[in-house]
């Protein structure tokens, strides 16, 4: 038992560190009564609701997913805005307003530095105004579609809690699934686009302070951007799919290792995952788990177990090298370059740690 415990220490460390890299966040928690009252007070300042603006809110559907978007005017033209991470890697995209109107964008432009895409719409399409004015503590609302059913409205209220050059932080408790939704002020102007959620690392210094286990929610500002027009099919085929597949692989490895870390001598139950190489590894690893018996079998088990972890480490390392190479391509936008670079760092770290655990596992019984 003691030996098993020792083996688990680096894994727990690994899992803890994975959360640092992960931008995925917990589901929005149920607000406390006090928070609910505050939100109700903020909501009361809005003289409009989802229904009033449903013609400018957009549900984006692709093969196995769903995202938000919205229509706004910029530089005299009307665009559909969404996050790059929502549309990258998708084969088929469809855009429908919450009021039910199908949209057919003409051209895609990507922000060179932020996780935003804008898709040109036909002249005369009604859109929100965009504002640069976003004082701290001012009331904001996030409006979007909750899930694939376009008609399921989502309204979340809060205040501006941080303002930066390219992003704004808000207190409205949105989750990663609400990405792409607009953040509106009481004048129906867009302050930014809901983009990512980050949970702060637990640290002894933060205990007992307002920053303990704090979840922060960020929206990219639409103003002050530089846009790059792309041949979407080529860009998406070359980079988008790679990015998407990489994200699936990284999340899959984290999922597998999280389960494995809890019960390292048990079978891994993750048998369905879009990333086939991972499932192949799980199948192979589960065969090793079956090895039981006397001292010879135990020795064989340790060797096979160690080898299995090394195999996964090698896969991560290979992916990391490939991802690092992709992240240096000139044609990428700053957002995708940063994302791929982040993915490469995560994979490199995973590979390094798995190698270390694999080495220690040679003594595993």
């Amino acid at each position: 038992m003691i030996m098993i415990f020792k083996k688990r220490i680096p894994l727990l460390l690994f899992i803890a560190c994975c959360s640092v890299f992960s931008e995925e966040e917990p589901e929005a928690e149920e607000p406390h009564d006090e928070q609910q009252e505050e939100n109700a007070l903020i909501q009361s300042q809005f003289d409009y609701s989802f229904e009033d603006i449903s013609d400018r809110l957009v549900a984006i559907k692709y093969e196995k997913g769903f995202g938000n978007g919205f229509i706004a005017t910029m530089e005299g033209k009307t665009y559909l805005f969404t996050n790059q991470h929502i549309i990258l890697g998708a084969n088929q995209l469809s855009f429908t307003t919450a009021a039910g109107e199908k949209l057919r964008p003409r051209r895609i432009e990507l922000s060179t530095t932020r996780d935003i895409a804008r898709l040109l719409l036909a002249d005369g399409t009604k859109g929100f105004k965009i504002t640069k004015h976003m004082p701290m503590d001012s009331p904001v609302g996030l409006f979007g579609c909750r899930e694939a059913g376009d008609e399921v409205a989502l309204e979340l209220y809060g205040t501006v809690t941080g303002v930066g050059a390219d992003r704004v932080e808000i207190s409205a408790e949105f989750s990663a699934k609400n990405s792409g939704a607009p953040i509106l002020n009481i004048q129906q102007e867009v302050l930014g686009i809901a983009s990512y959620v980050r949970k702060s690392r637990t640290h002894a210094m933060k205990e007992g302070t307002q920053f303990e286990n704090r979840t922060r929610r960020f929206c990219f500002r639409l103003t002050g951007n530089q846009w790059k027009s792309v041949n979407w099919k080529k860009y998406n085929d070359k980079f988008g799919r790679f990015y998407h597949q990489n994200a699936l692989f990284t999340d899959g490895v984290i999922e597998v290792l999280t389960e494995w870390g809890d019960t390292p001598r048990d079978r891994i139950s993750v048998v369905e995952h879009p990333e086939k190489s991972l499932i192949s590894w799980v199948t192979s690893h589960n065969q090793i788990i079956k090895i039981h018996g006397g001292p010879t079998q135990k020795k064989r088990f340790a060797a096979e177990y160690s080898k299995s972890l090394k195999t996964l480490s090698d896969t991560c390392a290979r992916r990391a090298r490939q991802t690092r190479m992709f992240s240096e391509k000139n044609k990428l936008t700053g957002f995708l370059r940063d994302e791929l670079s982040r993915q490469a760092s995560t994979l490199e770290w995973m590979a390094k740690l798995l190698t270390r655990i694999s080495h220690n596992a040679q003594d595993y019984r």
């Binding site: 640069k132 004015h133 976003m134 004082p135 701290m136 941080g162 303002v163 930066g164 050059a165 390219d166 992003r167 932080e169 702060s200 920053f211 704090r214 922060r216």
Partner: protein, 265 residues
């Protein structure tokens, strides 16, 4: 422009003379006016954070009804009091001394004030170290020069400020120990009396920076209360963002804050 070599001699003269009949207000404008603040300000609590960090720095400044700075306190990121300064005035309202406490190393320093209205200069001398800070003011009472010397009168640092007709700063140049210009700030103002852009040019290396200001909120007296500064490195026509700073000011006034009704005569 070079710092006048006669300044050291002048300072020596200053330090041996007292001007009890004069108040510092005869030489310079009040601190609030010098800082381009508007209205009867009682105190300002300033909260600063960089790059959207959750860590904040806090500073509180208090003023008397004439706009003179009474004291200043600074807190570090751990919300511990880092330093405090207290100004002491005589019965004529003249600044006579100030005390500076560094709470980190628990060191206290007293600075005595020597006035020279005829030359529009104020010298502040550290009683313990002998360091002297000499400020020279324009006929309109705005600071135009600053010079800091050690006990042996050796230059530590200096600066000079250029102002336009309405006294707003247009250039600020920092001078190094060898009396060479280190860098110059060039300021751009808007109609509200806010600096909207600062261009920073380094003289001894090929480097230029730009500070751009966005004012998020302004109160009824016309003072900004939320400001975002973005700092860029400038190279030719390209500029690269290097950091951003959000500053929030909570301003307390001697009178009640102006409301819409105050303008409704």
């Amino acid at each position: 422009m070079k710092i006048q070599p006669t300044a050291i001699a002048l300072l020596a003269a200053l330090l041996s003379t007292t001007f009890a009949q004069d108040t510092h207000l005869d030489i310079r404008v009040p601190d609030t006016v010098e800082s381009d603040l508007f209205g009867p300000i009682k105190s300002i609590e300033t909260d600063t954070s960089y790059n959207m960090s959750t860590e904040h720095l806090k500073k509180v400044r208090s003023y008397d009804p004439s706009g003179n700075l009474l004291g200043e306190m600074n807190w570090n990121y751990a919300e511990e009091l880092k330093s405090s300064r207290t100004n002491y005035f005589n019965e004529h309202g003249s600044l006579t001394e100030y005390r500076f406490i560094d709470h980190t190393d628990e060191e206290t320093n007293y600075w005595e004030i020597i006035l020279s209205p005829s030359t529009r200069q104020i010298a502040k001398r550290n009683k313990k170290t002998g360091t002297t800070k000499l400020r020279t003011y324009s006929p309109q009472k705005y600071q135009v020069q600053y010079k800091e010397t050690d006990k042996q009168k050796k230059l530590i640092k200096a600066s000079r400020t250029k102002r336009r007709a309405d006294h707003r700063e247009t250039e600020y140049t920092r001078i190094d120990q060898k009396n060479r210009p280190l860098y110059t700030y060039y300021f751009k103002w808007d109609d509200r009396g806010f600096i909207t852009k600062e261009r920073l040019r380094y003289h001894q290396e090929k480097k230029e920076r730009l500070h751009s200001y966005d004012f998020l909120t302004v109160d009824a007296y016309g003072n900004w209360t939320q400001r975002l500064m973005i700092r860029y490195d400038v190279g030719g026509k390209e500029k690269t963002k290097i950091s951003e700073k959000l500053t929030i000011r909570m301003i307390e006034y001697f009178e009640e804050s102006l409301t819409e009704n105050d303008y409704d005569f």
